[in-house]
Amino acid sequence: MKLSESRFGFLLSFPGLLVIILLSFFPTIMLFITSFLRYDNINPITFCAFENYEKMLNDPLFLPSLEKTLVFTFGTTSLTFCVGLILALCLSRITKYSGVFRILMLLPWAVPLVISGFIWKWIFDPVYGVINYLLIKIGLLANPINIFSDPNLAMIGVIVADSWVRIPFMCVILLAGFESIPQDLYEAAKVDGANAFQTFRYISLPLAMPAMATGLMITSMFSFRTIDVICSMTKGGPARATYVIGYFLQDQLYRTLNFGYLSALGIIMLFLQLAIISIFIYYLFKR
């Protein structure tokens, strides 16, 4: 039997296609359906239209968790971006031992997120933590602070622990963006007498913009969906200060077993993610 080129291509990707439809699209459709069902493992399953969504709007946990999610995502993304940008700018000018420096920069990426939460929890420990000790010794603090009892500080703590793991990836993407800029542009700028800030503002920044948008998109996408750090560091506390929507979802699963309601939450999570992504996609494709 003779197969045409395109038939062969389809045959090659068919098994994978089948698998992804089964594992990704089928559950998504299921999620849509169950979000419209009264499915709480107590009463028989019945159709209930938008009841789950109505209940969600009246849930005192829902809107605060949405706010926490946005703060967490925005905080992580901006901290990661700032540190990643500085590191990438340095690395793009480092010529000696650059291989060693790159490995050192990538090391936090190898740490699993849950473990990052544990490490930072230990570092921030209110009594035996090393941060308190060092800050008091330098004289920046008078008394040890307990970040796990202050809502705002706890949020900052999880943001630090989450960005710590994400900085290397951001740095790698930005560095690739900077390195794709032709070197003669910088030389021309130097000849014209541009200073460091002008070179950055008028050459590096605009030309590395797509890389920056990509890095920001992926970082915001992942910090939105991962709650590993919150699980090991604060468990949503104190007083639900770090109770983001993803944590809400997994925390309530075994507590309520209300599948219909939690599916509605999943749908909200899905659409929020699509909204965040589409901002970046719009920007990237507009160009």
Binding site: I20, R93, V111, Q250
Partner: protein, 283 residues
């Protein structure tokens, strides 16, 4: 005022400045890892004294010994290895053929297939917690290694396709055409030409999938209940007690959990970076 800014610009442009700034930031970034090592080398009693000792007074490897010989952690390591290695093999295998089909043998709708994979990468896996819970329960896969393999496969598969696709896009078409003229079959081209020549790219993808699976936590925490099937990321909770956390042994476990990533980074840093960029930037 102008003088000051001029000095600042001069300082920024000075060739040694990037090294200085970089070393300053990187020493803050690496401090948690160093602190984890220091803690792992302390006896338990020394973690509960104030002020904390920067250099352990009693240097001891007992935490590592106890983790490896007197705790259920080896079982967790084994589970993690089983899940991860199985998933790496399945994911890379399927993803390679999909990417091959999309990239080199375009067919009607191959663009849509690619979009499908992109879209399924955008869906947050956590949003699908309920459907997966229902599915895995009805298939009796809750609290089994197979269930976790399925989940991890779902999480890594679109990414792997995406990375491999951009690698295969760079593969010269001339080589395929030349082999075709010499009478090599299409399957032969894939196995005799593409796979050997793309070996490093496939390895890079496999490493990234390995680390993703190795680090996966949330689904493992939700869908396993007994120590016999829990991977390392969940097993580490063994040292979190109600009264206190056993920091030295937890740190020792954390180091063990980080070792694969560090080994891969040192071995294949260049290829991992290439793979990460390929997965992020669309061609």
């Amino acid at each position: 005022m102008k003088k000051i800014t001029a000095i600042i610009y001069k300082a920024i442009e000075y060739h040694f400045t990037p090294y200085l700034v970089f070393i300053l930031i990187i020493s803050i970034l690496l401090f948690p890892i160093v602190w984890m090592f220091i803690t792992a080398l302390k006896p338990l009693s020394e973690t509960f004294i104030y002020p904390p000792t920067i250099i352990p007074e009693k240097l001891t490897f007992s935490a590592f010994e106890e983790v490896l010989f007197k705790s259920p952690i080896p079982q967790n390591i084994l589970n993690s290895l089983i899940i991860t290695i199985t998933n790496v093999i399945i994911t890379t295998f399927f993803a390679f053929f999909v990417a091959c089909g999309i990239s080199k043998y375009r067919y009607k709708g191959s663009k849509n297939v690619l979009f499908l994979f992109l879209f399924s990468r955008i869906i947050p896996p956590l949003a699908l917690l309920i459907p997966y819970y229902i599915l895995l329960t009805s298939l009796k896969l809750i609290n089994t290694l197979n269930g976790l393999i399925v989940i991890n496969f779902y999480i890594c598969f679109p990414l792997a396709v995406w990375i491999l696709k951009s690698f295969i896009d760079d593969f010269p078409q001339d080589l395929i055409d030349a082999a075709r003229i010499d009478g090599c079959s299409r399957i032969g081209i894939i196995f005799r030409i593409m796979i050997p020549l793309l070996a490093t790219s496939i390895a890079a993808t496999a490493i990234i999938v390995f680390l993703w699976t190795w680090n996966e936590f949330i689904f493992a925490a939700m869908f396993t209940h007994t120590r016999e099937v829990q991977p390392l990321t969940v097993g580490i909770y063994y040292f979190v007690g109600d009264e206190y956390v056993d920091w030295p042994r937890l740190s020792a476990t954390a180091i063990i959990a980080t070792i694969p990533g560090i080994i891969f980074l040192i071995m294949a840093q260049k290829y991992i970076i290439k793979g990460l960029i390929a997965g992020a930037i669309k061609k």
